[in-house]
């Protein structure tokens, strides 16, 4: 969870100062900050449970790409605003369903972080859903771009519902609610779900990240790795 929010938060922050409108720019930066805030909670908890004295900064800045357990979806490049918002919509929809279940988890620390994050993510999903609908059911050009964004990113959806030994919950069980929100939104957005259910995998297991992860981590980690003692 922490690696997902970290990588996507860092990705979204690349938009800072480049948004298509000042309002969208600020909104994306707000969401990036929400995700980085959630990262701190998840990775501090992970470091605490690991018991090797690593905190969230150590885990964020001093791990190599193959040690990251984020989904392939979140490391995909921003490309245009349509791709960024489609990626956000797909992630938010999955994220909210995941947090909804984790909010009832038996571990009280996990439950606490999930409950706190759910409020933020409820807003993230509402916002990205509205934008996907507005741009999908917009002009001919925006519709084309959103459909091409969906075609590009749909092959990263399947990985979100794979369950492996590290998962706290049955991920596949989240799919029906994800699909319901996806279909309802695509319907309003006049977009068509790609027919192929093929999907890429290897992000959440760390075995087969795309080339993009190394680049984003290099940007994010270069300063603390070069100057480990640097203070803000």
């Amino acid at each position: 969870m922490g690696d997902n929010t970290l990588v996507l938060g860092q990705r979204l922050s690349e938009w800072c100062g480049h948004g298509p409108a000042p309002e969208e720019d600020i909104a994306l930066a707000n969401i990036a900050l929400d995700l980085i805030g959630q990262t701190r909670l998840w990775l501090d908890l992970a470091g605490n449970r690991e018991g090797l004295g690593r905190d969230s900064d150590m885990l964020a800045y001093h791990r190599n790409p193959w040690d990251f357990k984020n989904l392939l979806l979140v490391e995909q490049p921003n490309r245009d605003f349509g791709v960024t918002m489609m990626r956000q919509f797909l992630f938010d929809t999955w994220h909210l369903e995941t947090l909804r279940i984790l909010s009832h988890h038996t571990d009280k620390d996990v439950r606490g972080i999930a409950q706190k994050s759910s409020k933020e993510v409820t807003y993230h999903r509402a916002r990205s859903t509205n934008i996907v609908i507005a741009l999908g059911d917009g002009t001919e050009k925006s519709q084309l771009r959103m459909q091409s964004a969906l075609n590009r990113l749909y092959p990263y959806v399947g990985e979100m519902f794979m369950t492996d030994k590290d998962d706290l919950i049955d991920m596949a069980a989240l799919r029906p609610r994800f699909d319901a929100h996806l279909s309802a939104t695509l319907n309003k957005a006049t977009l068509t779900k790609p027919e192929s259910e093929f999907y890429h995998k290897g992000g959440k297991t760390g075995t087969q990240h795309s080339e993009h992860l190394s680049h984003i981590l290099a940007t994010m980690q270069s300063l603390p790795r070069s100057y480990p003692e640097a203070k803000w």
């Binding site: 000042p22 309002e23 600020i26 909104a27 807003y123 916002r127 509205n130």
Partner: protein, 94 residues
């Protein structure tokens, strides 16, 4: 062609405020979008508990050139101010 999104005026009710106050404006494609943009631009630092937005086009404004006729006559009528009354200490929010 004008590619700008329409302008909306934003009013926020602060945590301890009694009424919504004008805080600024945002561009947005429709009223729901305007609420979201207002939330993102004007409530980032915990400023509010309620948001109103209205299309700026819908505001009817007084004309600056009417200023003298509208406002100057009240300048010398201090007897209209309630400052001649004693207000008891236990009356709050006047």
């Amino acid at each position: 062609m004008n590619n700008e999104w329409p302008l909306y005026e934003v009013f926020i009710r602060g945590k301890h405020g009694l009424s919504h106050r004008h805080v600024g404006s945002v561009h947005a494609t429709d009223s729901q979008h305007a609420i979201q943009n207002a939330r993102d631009v004007y409530t980032r630092r915990n400023e509010g508990v309620s948001i109103w937005v209205i299309p700026s086009m819908q505001i009817v404004a007084s004309c600056p050139s009417d200023k003298d006729a509208l406002f100057e006559p009240s300048e010398d009528k201090i007897y209209r101010h309630p400052s001649f009354f004693q207000i008891p200490d236990d009356v709050e929010a006047m």
